[in-house]
Amino acid sequence: MDRKTNFAATLNDALADEMSALVERVQRSLVVVRVGKHGVGAGVIWRRDGLIVTNQHVAGHHSLFGRAHLQVTLADGRDFPARLLAQDPEIDLALLQIDDQDSPAAQIADSRAVRVGQLILAVGHPWGQLGFVTAGVVSGLSQAQTRGPRGSVDIIRSDVSLAPGNSGGPLVNAGGGVIGINTMIVGGDLGVAIPTQVINSFVEGVLGDLTLPARRSRVETEKLV
């Protein structure tokens, strides 16, 4: 092999190694969300103290089935009953809490630094295949119309192929940082993710409301018993 071929082969190996290490890292903070006997959705461990972000349309129907039916399975196989802390149908987000103080939290990246064309991975459970990985690039940064007081929300579009079961799973950058949560709120053939910036303000809003019970929020918050 000449030097150029040699370098290319080494580079390919290095890329493959980085990719598999990255996928392994991301899968650790990916959870399976089950509601009753319905299919599976995905979720991301947002904080070490057991806070999990998923899609509203994945977790939101749980009140129909009762609290015990909302269940979360971690990548290490542990099962937890989950509480629905809050949900916001307008941006398709839900915040869950499990009783675990040492959860493998995801690395959260700043979605404001996202650029069109950058490499991304989506991880989820499409058609029930757990931890399934698809790769692509950020296709566009735009806004989607919403039905609610916001009117619109920032979204990240990607060309990764998504299917039911990817909902609630992370969209991650080449460093393994979560830049958004895949969702299905908008139709079309483009994958759509809610950026972490939007998710962070949702999470902070919920937590702020929980510590200041008097304050009303747009977010529909369940009372903690």
Binding site: V116, G117, L119, V137, V138, G140, R157, D159, A174
Partner: protein, 304 residues
């Protein structure tokens, strides 16, 4: 942040791809010339841009939006439906021209398709070069010597936009208007050639010989007379009265094997050669007649 790891090739690749999109995106423009969703265009010079011919549905009031959001009015400098390319001129503009790739696309190469059909910003999809095809007749009197197929998603409004390599250089022009809606990419070399012809003449001139022909295998003796490794030629089975071929003295039974110093072994190759500068010019046509190789000068006509 912990992500700025210079030794991670995955991050380096990701950064390079985003950089490539930023670079080529600066030369990717919105072209508003049809009723439905606008399409895309590629800046060729400070005041010209290339787009797909099929996205031009009107001749005036063509809108062009630059990456910075400024809106300009363009006029049609030339169109060629045969290759589905159109050249637009934007008076007084200072567009940032795209850089064509120095090498043709290769199968397996990492590519990005870009488009700017909305004011919201550049759009991209990623894939690899799946195949290089051609020649193919386009059904509009044109012939693409070759074309690029990729597995990048052709989003609505991507027609007229660039296919780029990982360094942001243009490998070709994407269009869904040539092959019944199937997306393909016109190679940059060909697209730039067509653009030059459009800038000069306003159209791509296609030549006319006035012959009917069919491909035939060359017998060993004929090949010997030709003196090169060429297995087929075009047997002339009809010569149009008063056509360029008749006037130059070509005869039924001649086997056409070359034109303008280039070998011709099938009808598509002849069609491909009969384009551009040689139209209207006395051009050497190489034929086999009675086992001899002879060269006859034909003044190529123009096909209307």
């Amino acid at each position: 942040m912990s992500q700025s790891n210079d030794n991670n090739p995955l991050i380096a690749l990701s950064d390079a791809m985003a950089e490539a999109v930023a670079k080529a995106g600066a030369a990717t423009l919105l072209v508003d010339a049809r009723r439905r969703l606008p399409a895309s265009g590629i800046a060729l010079s400070a005041d010209t841009l290339l787009t797909a011919d099929h996205v031009i549905e009107r001749d005036d009031d063509l809108g062009v939006m630059l990456p910075d959001g400024s809106q300009l009015t363009a006029s049609v400098a030339g169109r060629d439906s045969g290759s589905d390319l159109a050249l637009l001129r934007v008076k007084g503009a200072t567009l940032a021209p795209a850089e064509p790739a120095p090498q043709p696309a290769r199968v397996g190469q990492l590519v990005l398709a870009l488009g700017r059909p909305t004011p919201e910003g550049i759009q991209a999809s990623q894939g690899v070069v799946s195949a290089i095809g051609g020649p193919v007749r386009t059904g509009r009197g044109g012939l693409l010597e070759n074309y690029i197929r990729t597995d990048a998603i052709p989003y609505p409004g991507f027609s007229g936009g660039p296919l780029i390599d990982a360094a942001g250089r243009v490998l070709g022009v994407n269009t869904s208007g040539l092959a019944r809606g199937m997306a393909l990419t016109i190679p940059a070399g060909l697209a730039w050639q067509v653009a030059a012809a459009l800038a000069e003449h306003g159209s791509v001139r296609r030549g006319y010989l006035g012959v009917r022909s069919q491909p035939v295998d060359l017998p060993p003796t004929q090949k010997q007379a030709l003196g090169r490794d060429q297995n087929t030629g075009l047997l002339l089975v009809g010569i149009e009265d008063d056509g360029p071929a008749a006037q130059a003295g070509l005869l039924v039974g001649d086997i056409l094997v070359g034109i303008a110093g280039q070998p011709v072994s099938d009808p598509d190759e002849l069609l491909a050669r009969l384009v551009g500068a040689l139209v209207g010019q006395p051009t050497p046509v190489e034929v086999l007649r009675g086992g001899q190789r002879i060269t006859i000068t034909v003044k190529i006509g123009e096909r209307k």
